[in-house]
Amino acid sequence: MPSVKFIEHNGTEHVVDGTNGDSLMMIATSNLVPGIDADCGGECSCATCHVLVDASWVDKLAPATETEESMLDLNPDRESNSRLSCQIPMSDELDGIVINLPEFQY
């Protein structure tokens, strides 16, 4: 089973297993990783599952869709490695991915 390392804004690390096909958002919420609200349940409608993907993993992800990009663009904590975690499905290629969580969701 591929694993994900989520790092909270305060530095607390959570290494959790994920199922291929499940989104990083689902993996986080199913493991009670704090810092992801996911109010819309994964429909790319709310932007409350914002994460910062570790730089070394960014290129391994499919690029953000136009909708995701627009939702992110207005986030005050936006960085070049910002993504919505509901839009990233887990896969073997992402085994060990490192995800940093922002302090707030908007």
Binding site: S30, L32, D37, E43, S45, T67, S70, D73, L74, P76
Partner: protein, 403 residues
């Protein structure tokens, strides 16, 4: 405190379980749900799940293992008979559950029609997974779908069904669809959109009953008209499930009355989600909402406060609706506005209608315009220049103060 009981199996209940454990509560949690399923997401029921694009296992808010791993006792398919605030017990069948704190998250149920023929088979309501499984089984062979009620649920179903090649009629009592929830401008836009896709919308048309053959619906009756229908879906609103609370003596008025901490009139009983009538300090009024974000937020608030915390619920309500390839995101209540500003061209199916009151943004309807929605979310209650809002050459980002 050792025992928390949650009545309800929807998204508020599911979120409350997660929040309680996340906040470190190690005592006993009993989740008592009337439906046979673990908490699942309802919004996709009238959208991706109805169309078949999403499978049932993906609807669960959290997988079954989550509840086992976190030591949550789930009692599904278990209607609660009685709450006794004096004894602090909840009765299910012959079993009594004791609580220190209780969360009521019983949601709502569809308002039903009681008209001649309304018990014919082929007439459905849409609220639960089971409802949609029944509808899907019918939809596979249906030729003529008649939807009673031109609200979001009805229109989402219309978009799925007409795309599958079913003939769709929508009956709306009022002079325009979505009258209860949006402005004439947005009603017109969606009316036109659905008409172009082949949906037949009948406004100022009241369903007066049904006719059928061999116990199965064949026609919907409205005035002098009879509309052929081998499948009927009724979407005319929700009634909050307050009976348990009322019988237990809790204050209710169009929902279970809670304060801004999601506490009911009993100090040990909290409520969250569609069943509540709650104050919203940002909007200066009480609300009863049918909304997932509201359910999730109230559940988090209630969980914190049940554990002795002090969390106030105050969020500007927001909603979304997917129809065809259009994503509509709404924030706030446009009926409070004294001015509207259009950004973009509705003809391109990508635009946002901002609503202002005394120069401040109070609401938005954003079609395929997530950025506009996010701006309104961040600038709610903030004065902006209407000219800038309307000008596509002005980057909305420049209107948001940087942090």
């Amino acid at each position: 405190m050792t025992n928390i009981v949650i009545i309800g199996g929807g998204q508020a209940a599911g979120q409350a379980v997660a929040s309680l454990r996340q906040e470190g509560f190690e005592g006993k949690i009993d989740l008592i749900g009337e439906e046979p399923s673990l908490p699942y997401q309802r919004p996709p029921l009238s959208k991706a799940y109805l169309s078949g694009a999403l499978e049932a296992s993906k609807l669960l808010v959290r997988p079954e293992k989550f509840y086992q791993d976190r030591d949550v006792a789930t009692h599904l398919g278990s209607p609660v008979k009685h709450i006794s605030p004096q004894e602090r017990t909840v009765t299910v069948g012959e079993t009594e559950f004791s609580y220190d704190k209780l969360l009521i998250a019983t949601g709502g149920r569809p308002r039903k029609l009681t008209l001649p023929g309304s018990d014919l088979s082929g007439i459905h309501y849409l609220r639960t997974l089971q409802d949609v499984d029944n509808i899907r089984a019918h939809m596979a062979t249906a030729k003529n779908l008649c939807i009673v009620g031109g609200g979001y649920i009805g229109l989402e179903v219309a978009s799925v069904a007409v795309t599958l090649g079913v003939t769709v009629n929508v009956l709306e009592m009022e002079s325009r669809i979505l009258q209860r929830v949006t402005t004439p401008f947005m009603s017109d836009f969606y009316h036109q959109l659905h008409t172009e896709r082949g949906v037949h919308i009948h406004t100022e048309t009241t369903c007066q009953g049904f006719r059928g053959q061999s116990g199965k619906v064949s026609h919907v009756l409205c005035g002098n008209q009879e509309i052929e229908a081998d499948l009927v879906i009724v979407g005319i609103g929700i009634i909050p499930n307050i009976e348990l609370a009322e019988t237990a003596g809790l204050a209710c008025d169009n929902g279970i009355l809670v304060d801004d901490h999601c506490k009911t009139s009993d100090d040990n009983i909290f409520a969250a989600g569609d069943c509540t009538n709650h104050p919203n300090a940002l909007l200066n009024r009480r609300l009863r909402l049918e909304s997932v974000p509201n359910a999730m937020d109230q559940a988090r608030t209630a969980a914190t406060n049940m554990l002795g915390g002090d969390k106030t619920y105050a969020t500007v309500p927001w909603f979304w609706s997917d129809q065809y390839d259009l994503k509509l995101q709404m924030l706030g209540f446009s009926q409070d506005a004294d001015a509207a500003v259009l950004r973009g061209d509705p003809g391109t199916r990508q635009f946002a209608q901002f609503y202002l009151s005394e120069g401040k943004i109070i609401a938005v309807d954003a079609v395929n315009s997530p950025k506009e929605f996010m701006v309104a979310k961040q600038l709610h209650g903030v004065a902006v220049s209407p000219e800038d809002l309307a000008n596509l050459d002005v980057d909305l980002k420049s209107l948001v103060p940087s942090t």
